[in-house]
Symmetry: C2
Subunit: 221 residues, 2 copies
Amino acid sequence: MQKKYQFPVIASDIVIFTVDKGILKTLLIQMKKQPFESFWAAPGGLVKVNESVDQAAARILSEKTGLEKVYLEQLYTFGEIDRDPFGRVVSVAYFALISKEGLSLKTTSEYKDVSWFDAKKLPKLAYDHQEIIAKAVACLKNKLEHSNIIYSLLPKEFTLSELQKIYEIILSKKFDKRNFRKKILSLHMLKKLSKKQTGQANRPAMLYSFVHTSPQQVKVI
Amino acid sequence: MQKKYQFPVIASDIVIFTVDKGILKTLLIQMKKQPFESFWAAPGGLVKVNESVDQAAARILSEKTGLEKVYLEQLYTFGEIDRDPFGRVVSVAYFALISKEGLSLKTTSEYKDVSWFDAKKLPKLAYDHQEIIAKAVACLKNKLEHSNIIYSLLPKEFTLSELQKIYEIILSKKFDKRNFRKKILSLHMLKKLSKKQTGQANRPAMLYSFVHTSPQQVKVI
DNA sequence: CCAAAAGTGTTATGACTACACCCATGA
DNA sequence: TCATGGGTGTAGTCATAACACTTTTGG
């Protein structure tokens, strides 16, 4: 088993993030095989010879969530010799951001279970996935401060309070409402729609949307 | 030749930087084999089954420069299908920073030549090495602004003007001498030595050294 | 004494922080 | 009319940017 592969093999693992009920969550699958039986792990798979590593990551993401065209970025490559007891596997890790709206999880027979976990309270993880997810969370925080990618965690139309709440959840930090609005509006990333929120028992908020829904470098917070 | 490998193979390429004579330089090797005969490339090699990817990068660096214990950081993994005409090779790229002091290059028979090039005026490069080096330069600029790793490009003792010059060369930007000194000294990264420069036809400068010569996150410039 | 780089302070401007009250709606 | 979150401005502080002359040395 130790020498299953004569050369290192390339896999890809995907840390999938969403924000749901005020919590940053990540999608994990529960394993069946020893020595990681019942341990959880980020979804992953081998890179095939006829697909690029990016394509492999997108395929794995699509297999687990059914989603195409979501934000997907390479994170880091994990290449320690003993990271996988089944053989010599180098993993090119990615992270994905999705807006959780009526997303159905595909539990295949390959795994015991699939579920969302609070990214800050993880269960026992297989392989070096503890390290991978920690790095993904750190990278996500950093990206949120230096780019506009938060758009991929929000619905098309949203209020400034919803936007602020997502920054606060991920960065574990509170912002002053007035200062936050001043800052975020000065960046011209958002356009104000001529619509208001409906159906809640208080003053309805103005809705906004992103001017660009493609990744851009911006000093945000 | 196209199907030399049945699975993707893992290689590592190292972009080695130094600053010499006021220029940011990178070490390239000149290839012998078709279709890249006489093209230049960043040094690289396959990752062996009994070494980690980090170890492979350090080994390749050491084989080309004879140096151990230099600053070496993973950059990005390049995994396009057709990036290497010899077969399916995924490359985990690294970049290294060295202080060029009496460094002897090992030209092996494997290559036509080994030489330093201005990182902003590169010759025809093999594979996707144009892209790899461009990404390495961008990453280096970013790192210089957010960490103390510039220590690895300087000798143990240096003047503030030498330090400023390295920032200016890499960031392609001039700084005001007074503001630069105020800023850099306020970070407490440097200690003033009780020595002065000797042997030049002008007022001798005070020498400084770094307090820490290990990578640290700092907002520098 | 001349050439060359070292060293040094002040002022103006822009960015960030802290902070409290009135508004619009549904129940 | 009450509860709930929406929406708004100002003043103080801090970091950054602009700017020019004197000092020390070797030749």
